[in-house]
């Protein structure tokens, strides 16, 4: 005998509210996408001579920008991911309890610094600091294509911008990783230790597998920030319309967001559409990267407290 469960009104109202919230997000994103597409169309169909930098068509214009965006974000995450995981582990498992809280605040402080200030710091402190290092790398290891000269005299290269991006992204990633590491089940940890595991083995066995989806989430958030960062890159980078892997030169590929920030104020006519269209491309690139990451996560069943 089966009886239908009574649906309480509280449940109905609450679940509808959550669905509405989700729908709002859907609607907002749809609106953004529609706006971007409508504004981009004039640029997508533009021909020779109408686009900036003498590009024959839109793809020639946006190609170097896409390369620059992905390259800068990749370098930034290369620096930031191991550092973030290391810091989060340090705060959650290695530091003395009392100090750990304060250390957590200290790293969170980095997240509060506005991107303009990162830009200023990058120009005033970081670039002059690393320029001698670049000079040394170029003089001694210049045969490696990454370090080929001529070396920038000001140190404002894509490597410097990637370092600034990494510093901006670290607090976000660390905060999420830290929360996730702290939530690892104590019983598992203590069982591992009781069986004689070293601290690293305990972490490897009972914390990291548990935190895998959290780490990927953190990396996604960090990547989103790195891809879309506007002002810090605009102020620190010395851009040019090139596609190259060299890290230390004065002509560097620009990122899409920084390019919009630099050219939008003075742009008129089709140039504005070209900039918005490049924003659309960035949107699509983020989409693809996220699809890839979601696919990677879904290959391994994520641990979830809730029955998802």
């Amino acid at each position: 005998m089966t009886t239908k469960a009574t649906v309480r009104i509280g449940d109905r109202v609450f679940s509808t509210t959550t669905v509405v919230a989700g729908a709002v997000i859907l609607a907002t994103l749809a609106a953004v996408a529609i706006f971007l597409v409508i504004q981009s169309i004039p640029a997508l169909v533009a021909g020779e001579g109408e686009l900036p930098n003498d590009s024959a068509n839109f793809w020639q214009y946006v190609g170097p920008l896409v390369f620059g965006t992905i390259w800068a974000a990749f370098l930034a995450l290369l620096f930031a991911t191991p550092l973030s995981i290391g810091i989060a582990l340090f705060i959650s498992h290695y530091a003395p309890r009392r100090v750990a809280q304060t250390l957590g605040y200290v790293i969170d402080l980095l997240a509060a610094v506005p991107s303009v200030v990162f830009g200023l710091w990058g120009i005033v402190v970081l670039a002059p600091l690393v320029q001698p290092l670049y000079q040394w790398l170029g003089d001694n290891l210049g045969w490696i294509p990454l370090f080929a000269g001529p070396i920038s005299g000001t140190g404002r290269t894509i490597l410097t911008a990637a370092m600034v991006l990494a510093v901006m992204v670290i607090p976000i990633m660390t905060a999420i990783c830290r929360e996730v590491f702290l939530q690892a089940p104590r019983l598992h940890e203590e069982a591992a230790l009781a069986l004689g595991a070293t601290r690293w083995e305990m972490i490897r066995m009972s914390v990291l597998p548990f935190a895998r989806s959290g780490i990927v989430s953190a990396v996604m958030l960090g990547l989103g920030r790195a891809l879309g960062e506007t002002f810090a890159v605009a102020m620190v980078l010395s851009p040019a319309f090139v596609v190259k892997l060299a890290l230390l030169q004065a002509q560097n590929p620009n990122t899409i967001a920084a390019n919009i920030a630099l050219q939008f104020p003075e742009a008129t006519g089709v140039s504005v559409n070209a900039l918005v269209a490049s924003g659309l491309v960035l949107f699509v690139v983020t989409l693809l990267v996220n699809v890839l990451a979601r696919w990677i996560i879904s290959r391994r069943a994520a641990f979830s407290g809730a029955d998802a």
């Binding site: 670039a127 920038s152 000001t154 010395s238 002509q251 104020p265 003075e266 008129t268």
Partner: protein, 367 residues
């Protein structure tokens, strides 16, 4: 949740809110006393918004402060987003007036202006003249002399070392180092680049070889954002050179320019002299004072590397109140007092008496 827990927190929040909501002390005093004698019988009131050139930014600050002090109920907002943004906003009706380093071009003039009454167009009135400096940071070189051809060579990447023969020829006896020149230019589109490239195209066309444009056309050296970015980059890099609005060149050495046969030092008067010597652009509406700068001016002490910035307004506004406020503002801006104040703050050249009178007369026709 217990009330006793929330109450202290709530009290704290309320107290801090009260404290923070306190009026700004400088605005309270400004509203309190209207300066006697300087205000007309009826002071202006209302709000107008302008968007435009960042080169004018410092000057606009002093002009707005001046007119708001005399008219405490007047509110003028000037957003230094850039000349292109200014013109775009003005055309679409997002701003009441625009500041622009370039006058409206024919294409823009042919279109319609959302703020203007039907059938009327917009006019450009020059209000800001600033010399552009060739600034450099080379140890041991204090008095660099350059001419247009050498500058074109350096900034196009043809001349790469400081002790190149062409530079040495102009600077006998100077201790030029054997070092690579680090060229610094603007990464963003700007009126400064536009005027710089116009100067080079007029005076060294074969070496420069490019049309004037807001974007720096060569892929040479480092690019930095904004006047302050370029200044910062030049200060921190050794053996560097750049072109920069004179107001931002503090802390850098400025090169002398060959004008005609003599080497001239940068000066606001020299810039003003060039503008005075330049004709108005022909074929524009009455009241439109766009200037065709004479880049090849060779009079004594002239400084042809100059930037002229305009205020763009409608001949007749749809909203009469806005029109009269804009008219009063531009008349104030072009007045001698305001021009001198801007010159003191920003290092610009005040409009000559003749040009100032023309601008005021044209502004009076704005309704």
């Amino acid at each position: 949740m217990k009330l006793t827990r929330i109450a202290p927190l709530g009290a704290l929040v309320a107290a801090s809110a009260l404290v923070l909501a306190g009026c700004a002390s400088n605005e309270a005093s400004a509203d309190g006393n209207a300066p006697s004698g300087s205000a007309s019988a009826t002071t202006l009131s209302g709000t107008i918004n302008g968007i435009g050139s960042s080169a004018q930014g410092t000057a606009q600050q002093s002009w707005i402060a001046g007119i708001q002090t005399a008219n405490p109920d007047l509110n003028i907002n000037y957003d230094p987003q850039g000349s292109g943004a200014g013109r775009k906003s003005f055309i679409s009706g997002a701003a009441d007036f625009a500041g622009s380093d370039a006058a409206l071009n024919d294409e823009e003039l042919a279109g319609s202006f959302a703020m203007c009454a039907d059938g009327t167009k917009a006019i450009d009135l020059p209000v800001y003249i600033s010399p552009i400096a060739i600034a450099y940071n080379v140890e041991g070189v204090d008095d660099l002399k350059l001419d247009a051809a050498t500058i074109a060579g350096i900034f196009s990447g043809k001349i790469t070392t400081w002790n190149d023969a062409k530079i040495a020829a102009l600077n006998e006896g100077a201790n030029l180092p054997d070092a690579t020149i680090t060229v610094v230019h603007r990464s963003d589109d700007s009126g400064t680049t536009q005027n710089f490239t116009e100067y080079l195209a007029a005076n060294a066309a074969d070496t420069w070889g490019q049309e004037p444009s807001q974007t720096f056309p060569f892929q040479v050296g480092d690019a930095a954002k904004g006047t302050s970015g370029v200044a910062e980059a030049t200060k921190s890099a050794k053996n560097s050179i750049t072109y920069i609005d004179e107001s931002g060149a503090a802390g850098l050495s400025i090169a002398q320019l060959k004008v005609g046969d003599a080497f001239v030092k940068i000066s606001a008067d020299g810039a003003a002299a060039v503008v005075a010597d330049s004709p108005l652009v022909t074929g524009r509406a009455a009241g439109d004072l766009a200037i065709d700068i004479n880049r090849t001016d060779t009079q004594a002490n002239a400084w042809p590397l100059v930037l002229v910035s305009y205020l763009i307004a409608c001949q007749q506004y749809k909203d009469a109140a806005t029109g009269s406020l804009v008219s009063s503002y531009i008349q104030y801006v072009a007045s001698d007092a305001a021009q001198q104040a801007a010159a003191a703050q920003a290092g610009s050249a005040p409009l000559s008496a003749e040009l100032s009178a023309k601008v005021i007369a044209a502004a009076q026709t704005i309704k």
